[in-house]
């Protein structure tokens, strides 16, 4: 405990020494770079955006430890830049026990495009949905009729 106050001035000096001169003169430099970012969008089955959902990004090096955490905006969108590390990145969205995972492959070549491995929202169109639902329902009705018929016979 007693040693800390002695160290403090030294630390402050070191910090001051490291500040660039330009900053003392109130100059500001703005750099803008185009980077390769990932846009994650969460939607419920009804098409509504998952606004304010919790996002956790996992880097390829450690798929168990979160690399970055955040929240989707009002449109259910979250942006991040997978800087450097090539390999399979994972993004998880969750809100009230709903959500899912998406995986994307980041190639070592920075000019190559990112590849979405899993998690593409393949929501069926209303027509597809109706046809699939009708098939299952007809299967159930058929089963019911079959058993009713054998019973009667």
């Amino acid at each position: 405990m007693s040693k800390r106050p002695d160290r403090l001035p030294i630390l402050l000096l070191a910090l001051l020494a490291s500040v660039p001169e330009t900053a003392l003169g109130h100059a500001a430099f703005v750099e803008a770079d185009a980077v390769r970012a990932v846009r994650v969008e969460g939607r419920y089955a009804t098409g509504e955006p998952m606004a304010g959902a919790q996002v956790t990004v996992f880097a390829p090096a450690d798929p168990a430890e979160p690399w970055r955490q955040g929240q989707t905006d009002a449109d259910g969108v979250f942006l991040f830049v997978p800087d450097g590390e090539p390999g399979r990145w994972a993004v998880r969205l969750r809100q009230a026990g709903h959500g899912g995972m998406a995986h994307l492959d980041v190639p070592a070549d920075t000019a190559a495009p990112l590849v979405l491995a899993t998690g593409r929202a393949a929501a069926p169109s209303p027509v597809q949905k109706t046809v699939m639902a009708a098939c299952v329902i007809w299967g159930c009705i058929g089963t019911a009729l079959y058993f009713r018929r054998t019973r009667a016979g």
Binding site: Y44, A45, T46, E48, G52, Q54, T56, P66, Q69, R92, R94, Q95, A96, G97, H98, G99, G100, M101, A122, A123, P124, K129, M132, A133, V136, I137, C140, I141, T143, A144, L145, F147, R148, T150, R151
Partner: protein, 212 residues
């Protein structure tokens, strides 16, 4: 109210499958003990269709969108067969629409199946199938509504007890709270649906409400 893949750890998902397998086994064994086990199949098949389609109907309850669960409904009308029927319905929802995960199928079946079995137990204890039409309808309505509330409570318990460390627990609790509140109107709707179904079957002949 279906747990998706990827949010629940492997151990919990496996435990869900194990518990669900026990319930399906006991259910099928109970049905097999009856003098005519096949007699319930047509009804089970039809209610599987209703359960499957019921949860595809979205009801907007701002700010969320919810759907019918029909847990109490299938429990009252199917008894022990409710769990196998729920498993089949959830399986088709998962593979066709991605509604609920395949790894979490066991857990989801428990979330729906336990309220169904509880509704069945109360219905049997209260002798619902031997009551007059108004009493049977009131009882079924209550059980239909209670089924939703219990299913939501089980869902919330699984979500909140299994929260990983990297999730903001307070934020997730708030989201679950909104989710629970959004299901209160669903409980009312399902109560009415269950009461109406039992009323119809009662009018058609009270034998339809009996599973022996």
């Amino acid at each position: 109210m279906h747990l998706p893949d990827g949010l629940v750890d492997g151990g919990t998902a496996l435990a869900g499958y194990a518990a669900c397998a026990v319930l399906v086994g006991v259910g099928l064994w109970q049905v097999n003990r009856r003098p005519d086990p096949g007699a319930l199949v047509p009804r089970a098949a039809l209610l599987a269709a209703v359960f499957f389609a019921g949860s595809l109907v979205s009801i907007p309850v701002p700010p969320a969108t919810v759907h019918l669960t029909l847990a109490g409904f299938v429990g009252v009308l199917l008894g022990w067969l409710a769990v196998p029927v729920i498993v089949i319905g959830l399986f088709f929802q998962a593979i066709l629409f991605g509604h609920g995960g395949l790894t979490t199928l066991g857990l989801n079946a428990l979330i729906m199946g336990l309220p169904a079995l509880l509704a069945f137990a109360i219905w049997r204890l209260a002798g619902g199938d031997r009551r007059g039409r108004p009493t049977a309808m009131a009882l079924a309505g209550g059980l239909g509504a209670a089924g939703v509330l219990l299913a939501v409570a089980l869902f919330a318990a699984v979500v909140l007890l299994g929260l990983p460390d990297d999730v903001d627990a307070a934020m997730e609790r708030r989201a679950v709270g909104i989710f629970i509140a959004a299901h209160l109107p669903v409980a009312v709707i399902e109560g009415v649906v269950t009461a109406a179904a039992v009323g119809l079957l009662h009018r058609a002949g009270s034998g339809l409400l009996r599973y022996g």
